[in-house]
């Protein structure tokens, strides 16, 4: 099977809101597809449709070759789902949570127990195995949740913002675990607001905003869509900022001021010498002048027209960290 996850024309509305307004996407078997977008873009709706929790209003979706509506049972037998919040039973211990899933999936008592122990070890939860999940930290819960989604050895995984609210260390751990799973042949669809998360993990990225796909491709392709590189310069005197901006825009066709810096997409190798010449003629001293690959953040800006802003930390997750995120404060 070429595509483990596939959808065409997927649409879903809730009352007045068009959560999805015709989305096409496909994840090649054995790869990670990153679904990137701000809050309310429709990421979770898409995942819920793929995981058979919602039926689309129109369009179709196939997971593992099975239609998510007509063959929901067969889809469920192939997938694992890790939600935005850790869906574990807080009153049960780590072991019991996994035991429950194993038994539900038809494993015998001994087999379910062995599988639980194996997963708890893999996710570094052996020591907490006998404790109720309500005593777990946020990172531990997320790991238990991921473990719970893996009990049945799913070949296709849906991870809906698996690292939102995690501290940088726990996030790194989760990334490593996901990489390990993909190395074993698992296909994953990962939604995220974290730009570098998609950059780090995804083979291909689909950017959605307001229920529509606004861009897709590999991280590198997306970056080159806004000009492969970005020219960044900082005048010595902030007073020169406006004048320098005008000069760069003249040369590059497009430029913006960010703080005390000017950035412009580079589509033409002549740009750099041209900018230098103009600045020299105008006698504007420059403190810093660099060429760098554009970040996904800038890609997002160009694609959606709105800036990637750090989200307000959630109440229950004060340790969001300093990572950049796409999205507007909710």
């Amino acid at each position: 099977m070429e595509f483990a996850i596939q959808a065409e024309g997927l649409a879903k509305s809730f009352k007045e809101t068009h959560a999805l307004a015709g989305v096409d996407l496909a994840a090649r078997t054995g790869t990670v597809l990153g679904l990137l977008g701000p809050n309310g873009a429709g990421k979770t709706t898409a995942v819920r449709i793929f995981a058979t929790l919602l039926t689309p209003d129109s369009g179709w979706a196939r997971v593992g070759g099975h239609d998510v509506v007509r063959e929901a049972g067969l889809v469920r037998a192939m997938i694992g789902l890790t939600g935005q919040y850790a869906a574990v039973d807080e009153k049960l211990t780590g072991t019991e949570n996994l035991l429950m899933i194993g038994r539900l999936l038809g494993m015998g008592r001994a087999e379910a127990r062995a599988r639980a122990a194996e997963l708890l070890e893999r996710f570094h939860l052996e020591e907490a195995a006998g404790r109720a999940a309500k005593t777990y930290s946020g990172g531990m819960r997320r790991r238990l949740d991921l473990a719970a989604s893996l009990v049945g050895r799913p070949q296709i995984l849906f991870l809906d913002e698996p690292t939102t609210g995690l501290d940088p260390h726990s996030r790194g751990e989760l990334w490593d675990m996901l990489r390990g799973l993909v190395a074993e042949g698992v296909t994953a669809l990962l939604t995220t607001q974290y730009l570098n998360e998609a950059d780090q993990l995804a083979d291909e990225i689909v950017v959605i905003d307001k229920g529509r796909v606004i861009a897709e491709g590999t991280p590198d392709q997306l970056k080159s869509q806004v000009g492969g590189q970005v020219l960044q310069l900082r005048p010595v005197h902030p007073a020169d900022l406006t004048k320098a901006h005008a000069l760069v825009r003249e040369a590059a066709g497009r430029a913006r001021i960010e703080g005390e810096e000017i950035t412009a997409p580079v589509n033409d190798l002549e740009l750099l010498p041209s900018v230098v010449r103009r600045l020299d003629q105008a006698a504007i001293p420059v403190g810093e002048l660099t060429l760098r690959r554009s970040s996904l953040d800038e890609v997002f800006l160009v694609l959606t027209g709105h800036r990637a802003e750090p989200e307000q930390p959630e109440d229950d997750a004060p340790d969001v960290g300093e990572q950049e995120k796409v999205g507007t404060p909710s």
Partner: protein
Amino acid sequence: MTAATVTAPLGRKGKVQPLAALRQTGTMAWRSLVSVKHNPLELVDYSVTPIMFVFLFTYVFGGQMAGTPQAYLQYALSGIIVQNTLFMSMYTAMSLNTDLTKGVFDRLRSLPIARSAPLFGRIAADLAKQLWAMLLMLGLGAALGFRITGGLGGFLGATLMLMIFAAAVAWTAVLIGMLAGDVEKVQVFAFVLIFPLTFTSSAFVRVDTMPGWLQAWVNVNPVTHLSDAFRGLLLGGEVAGPVLWSLVWAAGIAAVFIPLAMRSYRSRA
């Protein structure tokens, strides 16, 4: 990790086999009961209020109500048990609501299991807890002087009657659990509904001591029928009427609320 996917007991087209569905229901019931092991307080939660009520009604009200605490206990214990059964049914609503809001149902629904297993498992486990609470209160009552005078048959009949009614009421709890925005709302709703319902009945006081206009309501209140049936079976006496009415009420509640509850369960969980 091996590449083999666990073959969940699915038939053709991914339908869950009936036997597998039964086993999944058992697993879900196990899940609801095993948590008691780590939260022994949960058991106390089911038991403290009823025990308090038994003591309170027996020793505070008993003398004035019936001359002696023992005499009143003989009457009121059945009512206390019925009231507690109704309150406890709201635990079903609360725990379902928690599963819903915490995303546990999302996880369960993404598994290749019978859709009804989480619901039936929960109801079965909660009926087991109901049985436990009933036995606890009867035991305590016996220690304080309550006597079952209806014999073993009466005791078994009373138990069965209570469980049938509890099973019917569980479906209203399912509906409330599905509709409520959060657990606190479930609690408020339960309190507002169950308190007046149980006090305007024959649970604690004989109906003929009430004013006529109130009797008109009290005599149709299902709590009255259930209390009379439960008490009559335990103590021996004429029970045909109350038992019949209790069964009619249970059937009526089930007929109305099972479809409503199933519909909201299917759409929300």
